[in-house]
């Protein structure tokens, strides 16, 4: 029952995130504040209305207060203000200013919006048929963007390989921690105290079934990536499976370590979620590359097993990496396992205090 639940839950999350999470900023709601009202200002503003994928026009702004008010209530995210005499200055080549005010409350979105505005203007000025009666701008280069590993720049290609690393640590770690602490709480751990079972024997015996569960979960998630999201595996499936085996062993090991210093199931659930959620989602290369993290986040990210498995998973799915490129992930994951074993074996008491 619990097993079915874990599998269905993971599959569901994979679906939701694969289809639902996207970094594409589109249909930005904007309003114009045209203080000039000349043919030139209208031509300028029309360029934005002409990019409906990125900009969606809302009723124009009447005053500065109106603009601020509508920005505050989030009904618009961008105001384009054309100053008086814009048209005249443009004809006299006096370089008029246009003010674009973007909502920066969400920093990523704000930054993206300002870049869109800049590129609309750049494109307009370069276009000889732009009706602004300015000579087409000289001295600009054309950029040909080439998005490697994700040619259409779709979020699903970045998401599908990133979800399994997240689920394959959160679920195995917590189940493992609970399973050991449960014995402590219910008292059945007495069997371990009174029999000559070694510490490592006991722990590995507890770990094995959860590694199996993790692997089954992995096969389900990979099947979904292939079938539902049509994200192909460019590299070697065998390598990814090997990495997963090491990874799941490591992540159940994390749960094992936590189980040694918690004594109630409540505390085990609590500590595991608090400890694993943050580094897994924020510091492991899911949201941003680990190399661009700073300070303690970077330290945490570089010792967290998810970082290496995330790299391997993205690499095998999208890049088709060769041996030399995933070897590091494999080695690091393999090294983490005995450390976790050693820590838990040392911390597990053979006698109740």
């Amino acid at each position: 029952m619990r097993l079915a639940f874990a599998f269905i839950g993971s599959a569901l999350l994979m679906l939701v995130f694969g289809f639902g999470i996207s970094f594409d900023v589109e249909h930005v709601r904007y309003a114009t504040f045209d203080l000039d009202r000349t043919p030139e200002s209208r031509v300028y503003l029309e360029q934005f209305a002409g990019a409906p994928r990125y900009f969606r026009q809302m009723p124009p702004v009447r005053s500065v207060e109106d603009a601020l008010h509508r920005m505050q209530s989030d009904s618009i995210s961008l105001v384009l203000e054309i100053p008086p005499n814009f048209g005249r200055d443009l004809r006299k080549a006096a370089i008029p200013e246009v003010l674009a005010e973007a909502d920066g409350a969400d920093t990523f979105r704000g930054e993206t919006i300002t870049q869109y505005v800049q590129s609309v203007q750049d494109k307009m000025l370069r276009d000889p048929a732009n009706e602004l009666q300015t000579p087409p701008q000289k001295y600009t280069a054309n950029f040909q963007d080439r998005y490697m590993y994700n040619p259409t720049f779709e979020s699903v290609y970045a998401m599908a390989p990133s979800i399994p690393p997240i689920l394959l640590i959160l679920i195995p770690a917590i189940l493992m921690a609970i399973s050991v602490v449960r014995e402590k709480e219910l008292g059945s751990i007495i069997n371990f105290y009174v029999t000559p079972t070694g510490r490592l024997e006991y722990l590995l015996g507890k770990q094995l079934p959860y590694i199996v569960i993790g692997m089954i979960n992995y096969f389900i998630l990979v099947a979904m990536a292939l079938v539902v999201f049509a994200v192909p595996i460019k590299g070697s499936f065998l390598v990814l499976t090997l990495c997963t085996l090491l990874y799941v062993t490591a992540t159940t090991g994390v749960g094992m370590v936590i189980s040694t210093f918690t004594s109630s199931q409540v505390a085990a659930v609590f500590v595991t979620t608090v400890l694993t959620m943050l580094p897994t989602i924020q510091f492991s290369g899911f949201m941003q590359p680990v190399s661009t993290l700073l300070g303690r986040a970077k330290v945490l990210g570089s010792i967290w097993p998810t970082t290496y498995y995330m790299h391997a998973s993205k690499g095998v799915f999208t890049k088709g990496l060769g041996l030399d490129l995933w070897a590091q992930d494999l080695i690091v994951l393999a090294c983490i396992i005995p450390i976790l074993w050693a820590v838990s074996a040392l911390a597990l008491e053979k006698q109740e205090k």
Binding site: F5, Q72, A102, Q121, V266, F283, T292, G295
Partner: protein
């Protein structure tokens, strides 16, 4: 009156059992201090320390200038590679961006042509890829135009576009991430604490102790709501003041009492959700799985990680029922944009409505489960 007293005493009992668990208390403190600080200072959607390389097939004075335009902290010092190395170095993940400048680049520009620059972007890191790509284009075109302005005044663009970012003029992403981090911790801890409090009583059999006393389900549930909310509220307040406002120096544009009223509404929802999850799960392991699924969902779809507007439309309709989305939204409005009650009342209403629905439903469930144990 009697009922209120019961709720008060039961709540104090909750607080006592919480404070006797040192491990839990320690992790609550950590979640609202170290965890938030590390996330706010360590992660950013800005481009930072990005690795970049150039393929310079022109070798002119201009391209030297372009390469020099990229420097730390935003970019690592650029490396020069040959055209044949682009694929392998990017496969290895050595560079996020590789800019390839074609032969005769400067000469073409001088002749009034628009030569192509190839910009290779590692698109597996989507946020950095799109923002960093934009930076590179702006920096390159700025440099080109200032390079030629020395000899030709018409190199200047005929319109000067002034871009201002309202509410966060320098685009410091710790302003946003710190508050999102608090929101995530509030959700996680409140749900776990309340839900666990319900399960613990059941597994230890102390629920029966409560039931033989003259108490009803509403009182038991309400006591858990206020006690756990209080713990989180105090932690949130301390975290907002010490970490966000003092250590990270994030300005608070709107009204602090208004924001805390919103937090209270949200805590009501989160505790109700905790009781709900604690009541429907039959074992701790089941509860743990539910916690993970629900929290990952509440966190990643709240608009704190990726903008709500970027979600597909059908998804936006679904996330409309997630109170965490409204929590992020009203926090943005109050903390950064300085909006008042007239700007945030729709979010407040929605959080309260979902919270109330959960509370009423889980109270009924809780009653039923108690009746069964009776």
């Amino acid at each position: 009156m009697n009922s209120l007293l019961n709720i008060l005493w039961l709540g104090l009992k909750e607080l006592r059992s919480f404070s006797s668990d040192l491990v839990m208390a320690f992790f609550v403190v950590y979640s609202f201090s170290g965890a938030i600080y590390a996330q706010a200072t360590g992660t950013s959607s800005e481009v930072n320390n990005a690795s970049i390389a150039f393929v310079d097939e022109d070798g002119s004075a201009l391209t030297k200038q372009l390469i020099n335009a990229f420097y730390p902290p935003r970019f690592q010092t650029p490396e020069l590679i040959s055209a044949s190395e682009v694929e392998t170095t990017m496969d290895q993940g050595r560079f996020m961006f590789v800019v390839a400048i074609p032969p005769r680049f400067e000469a073409d520009l001088r002749a009034g042509r628009h030569p192509d620059i190839q910009l290779n972007i590692d698109a597996t890191a989507m946020q950095q890829a799109s923002i960093g790509g934009g930076y590179i284009k702006n920096i390159v075109n700025d440099r080109i135009s200032s390079f030629f302005r020395r000899t030709d005044a018409s190199a200047q663009p005929p319109i000067n576009l002034v871009i201002r970012r309202l509410f966060n003029p320098n685009g410091v992403s710790s302003w946003f991430t710190s508050v999102v981090a608090i929101i995530n911790q509030v959700t996680l801890l409140t749900v776990v604490l309340t839900g666990a409090a319900v399960i613990r009583e059941r597994e230890h059999g102390t629920l029966e102790h409560l039931l033989v006393m003259p108490l009803n389900a509403f009182e038991i549930a309400m006591a858990k709501v206020w006690a756990n909310s209080l713990v989180i509220l105090v932690a949130t307040g301390a975290s907002l003041y010490l970490i966000v406002m003092k250590a990270l120096e994030v300005p608070f544009a709107g009204s602090i009492p208004l924001w805390f009223s919103g937090v209270l509404l949200y805590l009501f929802f989160a505790t109700a959700l905790g009781i709900f999850l604690g009541t429907i799960s039959r074992s701790m392991a089941q509860f743990a799985l539910l916690i993970i699924f629900v929290n990952v969902m509440l966190q990643l779809l709240s608009g704190g990680s990726t903008p709500i507007d970027s979600q597909p439309v059908w998804m936006q309709y679904m996330t409309f029922f997630l109170p965490s989305r409204h929590f992020v939204s009203f926090s943005q409005k109050i903390i950064y944009r300085g909006g008042g009650i007239e700007a945030v009342w729709p979010q407040f209403t929605m959080v309260a409505a979902v919270g109330l629905a959960f509370f009423v439903y889980s109270l009924a469930l809780f009653r039923k489960s108690i009746a069964v144990t009776k």
